[in-house]
Amino acid sequence: MASVSFRQVRKTYGDLEVIHGVTVEIADGEFIVIVGPSGCGKSTLLRMVAGLEEITSGEIAIGERVVNRIEPAQRDIAMVFQNYALYPHMTVYENMAYGLKIAKVPRDEIEQRVQKAARILELSDYLKRKPRQLSGGQRQRVAMGRAIVRMPKVYLFDEPLSNLDAKLRAQTRLEIQKLHADLGTTSLFVTHDQVEAMTLAQRMIVMNAGVVEQVGTPEQVYLQPATTFVASFIGSPPMNLVKGVVKGDRFEFGVGSVVLPVAAPRQGPLTLGMRPEHADIVGDDPSGWRLQVEVVEMLGAERLVYGRLCGESFTLRIDAMRPAPRPGDILTLKERPEHLHWFDSDTGMRVPS
């Protein structure tokens, strides 16, 4: 087990810089999820840890050791690939044993480690099969088994769940969590799926366009997004973000203005962010915000209300037990003051209130 440190890590392809200086410290035994839209550089970052991509500048250290110039096999890592990358002509057993065989681990120890991994992953009955005789979920488990038998210091997962169907994905997610609880090995998990990120992460790294936007626990990222990007990327439906101008105790935007329940951090142009679930519908309140309902969606436990607030689109999430608003209704909202987020309209950075 080991910590992982990124120190000013950059990656360029020719003249194009795709990772713009990432500095993150990952503690020993942590489960870190790197999340971001496609093309943000999250996989590249992971592949640099694995040693499959060269590090243009900066340093990556696993434990105390800087690994920039060390071969992947010597880095004490194991990687699970998105398409599993199982050797098609080898049996499940041979797939898992291959790395150990090359590392010249004694035969009976290989046997013992593979059997143990197979037991953990419930693959014992499939050891003699070839990958093509397995289902997607089983292949995925073999790929994890191949990582487990190596007993590495760091696990690297490159979107390992995206080829599974929704049900299997949820189930495998739980298995990965259990596995991490058992083994306690430092893990880096790359995904573009925010549900995966929120559920698996002890801490998550939110990336956008080669820049780390925020590092923090899922709670921190959800409740205190550091930038408008994080605010809109994490959470479904995303946070309502409206650009406007603070004037006294009013916030002017769109074609009108609303009364702020609490003083804004500063006057002038700002962006206001509000989670869809952080507003209450109140009866009649002159200081309430008036939302004109356009569409209502029923999701079972809750309803999503899409409407316009001062002409700007606004989403509201309400309990399904409440009476359903109808398109055309006007709802009066009371925002919870502790859940208003302020961002600089130009830089997108959070402005502390």
Partner: protein
């Protein structure tokens, strides 16, 4: 598509039967001719039922060739042909799989240049470069040797190209997984690439076996001693021009003998061959 039109069935079967007959009849006639004496064969019309000279004719050609044309034993020719038909595909597969591996998996200076060099030779069939090649082989003193017969035909852009295309379909992650597992390039080649290429190799072997076996122009040029003739050349040398009558029954026996090994290879390796052409195990 489910169809039930008896007339159409009859018609399509008739077409197929006629087609097969058209192709098979000459073969049958060749076989029949190889079982008669020369007098019977030369008579008009030629009999269409096998005669009683089968053993005599075949043992004659196998041990002593013809009496009027080439007198080389066909048994030796079969060995020569087999040499060509084995060494050429094995050599081709060995060289091209290694060069394709280099081109696909290694980054070295002028990589694409070398690939195009190999690729361009595709446009130069044997016949175009046959005079310079002959000169080289003659100057090296390799006429009438197995080396001279096989080596010039081993270099192959086709096979290199085919393996390159196949390697490019192997997912990159497989190479990366092997790297993470600690396999060096040659280990990756031996443990992953070679086993995955088995079916492609088998398909290539079948094609190249037939290619090597059927070579005509090249052996015709480099062999002048009877002991180095290949079977296909032997057939030609048994036919005598001018007034003497060619011993057709012996020529036909040799032709049948020349036909058997490629047919045998195709039949025996059919399963692999088809697999290699259609299925990729990835």
């Amino acid at each position: 598509m489910v169809e039930n039109r008896p007339l159409l069935n009859v018609f399509s079967h008739a077409v197929l039967i006629v087609g097969v007959a058209l192709i098979a009849l000459p073969l049958y006639v060749a076989f029949v001719a190889s079982t008669h004496t020369l007098e019977t064969v030369m008579r008009t019309p030629m009999p269409l039922w096998p005669g009683d000279q089968l053993l005599e004719n075949y043992s004659q050609v196998l041990t002593a060739g013809s009496t009027r044309g080439s007198k080389a034993a066909v048994a030796q020719m079969l060995v020569n042909s087999l040499m060509m038909a084995l060494v050429i595909p094995l050599g081709k597969i060995t060289i091209s799989i290694v060069s394709a591996f280099a081109i696909v998996y290694f980054r070295f200076p002028l990589r694409m240049f070398f690939f195009w060099m190999i690729f361009v030779t595709l446009m130069l069939p044997v016949e175009v470069r046959i005079i310079p090649t002959f000169k080289v082989i003659a100057d090296l003193g390799l006429l009438n040797t197995y080396t001279g017969l096989t080596v010039p035909l081993i270099a192959s852009a086709t096979a290199t190209f085919l393996f390159r295309q196949f390697f490019m379909t192997i997912p990159d992650e497989l190479a990366e997984a092997a790297r993470v597992d600690g396999a060096g390039p040659m280990r990756f080649f031996r443990d992953i690439v070679l086993p995955l290429s088995k079916t492609s190799m088998a398909a290539l072997f079948v094609i190249q076996f037939i290619y090597g076996w059927n070579q005509y122009l090249w052996p015709l040029l480099v062999t002048s001693e009877e002991s180095m003739y290949t079977t296909v050349i032997g057939i030609k040398r048994m036919m005598v021009g001018g007034d003497a009558a060619t011993e057709w029954q012996l020529v036909m026996a040799t032709a049948i003998l020349a036909m058997l090994p490629p047919a045998l290879v195709v039949v025996l390796m059919q399963k692999w061959f088809v697999k290699g052409l259609v299925e990729t195990e990835k």
